[in-house]
């Protein structure tokens, strides 16, 4: 009997250990990325805005790892500096959308009745429009700039989070432990913060982690249309679209920020997956 059980116990333990290891690795990578964007000014080998026309369109070399653009600016430095705008505005955007959407969703799910109906119809309305087009309209009305681009994207993205949070809340409401909490005399706020949110935060967090990439691209898209970050501000998205016409002759100018987006999106996606596995209470144990 015991010999039979041992392998499964070991496998479970290994699984638990790998989740922890993954969490540490991806968490560390994400942290490096964040630190990189915080201290970007001190990490650049060259001045990212310094033009050196003699050295324009230089291919990647030991001096310029990612080459230079058409003004001779060092691409590596520009990518590093661009991380500040790209990563920070994306994280800010995802953070706002997550908190706002979750608040609305939990409120609807918990309260039910007419408020639920009204808010969900409004979210349907938002979902009925093609997202980016709507965001463009909003950003256009507000008049460009990174801040307005973020507002526009929040406006189109909150319904998704509201829906997830609402359905999760409805499922939580039916659980015996929530009924037990009500019988224990806990009020609405205590139930929401102590019992509902900790139990639904996992899937929501995973969704927002997995959304970081999309949001990054959408912000870049708006920047490209002149509705977000404006040149010469180094921002990955606008850098990419900036060099679009030169893709065949100087591909590294497009590829360098593209590579940066690819790496960051991947790190955040893997981190999101790991957080989901880790947040599952059954995989944690003692």
């Amino acid at each position: 009997m015991s010999t039979r059980n041992e392998p499964t116990v070991r496998i479970q333990k290994i699984k638990k250990d790998t989740i922890k290891t993954r969490l540490i690795i991806f968490g560390a990578l994400a942290l490096i990325l964040l630190l990189c964007s915080v201290f970007c000014e001190h990490l650049t080998p060259y001045d990212p805005y310094l033009q050196d026309l003699k050295n324009a369109k230089a291919p990647p070399s030991l001096e310029h790892l990612f080459g230079t653009d058409r003004y001779g600016r060092d691409m590596l430095s520009r990518v590093i500096v661009g991380s500040k705008t790209s990563i920070f505005s994306t994280l800010l955007l995802v953070g706002i959308v997550t908190v706002l959407g979750t608040m609305v969703g939990v409120f609807c799910g918990w309260h039910g009745k007419w408020i639920d109906t009204v808010l969900m119809r409004i979210s349907d309305m938002f979902l009925a429009f093609p997202g980016l087009v709507f965001a463009m309209a909003v950003a256009g009305v507000l008049g460009g700039g990174l801040q307005n681009a973020i507002i526009a994207l929040v406006a189109i993205s909150w319904p998704k989070y509201a829906r997830i949070a609402r359905s999760q809340t409805l499922a939580q409401k039916e659980t015996p432990y929530l009924k037990a909490a009500r019988l224990s005399g806990s009020g609405t706020w205590k139930i929401i913060f102590k019992h509902i949110l900790p139990n639904i935060v996992g899937p929501i967090l995973v969704t927002s982690m997995l959304d970081i990439g999309t949001m990054m691209m959408e912000l870049a898209g708006l920047s490209f249309l002149g509705l977000g970050a404006k040149p010469p501000t180094a921002e990955w998205g606008s850098m990419m679209s900036d060099a679009r016409s030169l893709l065949s002759s100087v591909p590294w100018v497009t590829l360098a920020p593209g590579f940066a987006i690819f790496i960051s999106v991947m790190i955040f996606n893997l981190l999101g997956d790991t957080i989901r596995d880790y947040a599952d209470p059954k995989s944690r144990g003692r």
Partner: protein, 254 residues
Amino acid sequence: MEPVLKVENLTKVFTRKGQPDYTAVNHISFEMSPGECLGLIGESGSGKTTVVNMITRLLDSTEGRILLGGEDITRLSGKGLRKAYREMQMVFQTPTDSFDPRCTLGDGIGESLRNNGWSRKAAKDEVVRLLEVCGLSADFAGRYPHQVSGGQCQRAAIARALAIRPKLLICDEATSSLDVTIQQEIIDLLNELRWTKGSDLSILFICHDIALVQQFCEYVLVMYKGDIVEQGTPGEIIQDPRDPYTKRLIASIL
């Protein structure tokens, strides 16, 4: 003496989209006196859970009145309802699911105490005492529900239900998901609690096993398809069942 619980004409009609209305509970009335242990039996789907969910106000009733210690709680909500919960607690059918997977058992047991103004320290000590009363050691307070067995979890659930010292304890098939020996232990524990508490704890014991009810309850209601079809002492019901459904139920266990 004032009844602990009085239920008058309680009715629940479920309305579902695209389907005819379904009367899960049909005008039932009964009352419980202090210290009494009342059994409610009936097959699966007969409406037992619906009845207790209405009594605990987790579900709104369609019709009827619920009086807890003389106070009408049929339409209570918010603060008034939370006050009523000091008199009435419940033990659920699925022990593990009745504790928040993210909180320790001690947290769950102490929640009602903390909500009623106990200090953290006092609540913690009381949780340990309650665990001991229910036959668990103090270290269970720090465990999560998935780290204990079903029987242990049900003991913790009973500890939680008794924490605030209610007058009425409702056990909705509290033993059904446990195996036979553990079932007996839980019954023994409930019996012990009844007699040590100075007999003012009333228990509404819901079950679909008449043998368990027989050794535990003074009076039994038999439910069938939302109606109370028969009532009496367990002895009367077993020896002289009048309703055809009860007859079948008795026949099935003899």
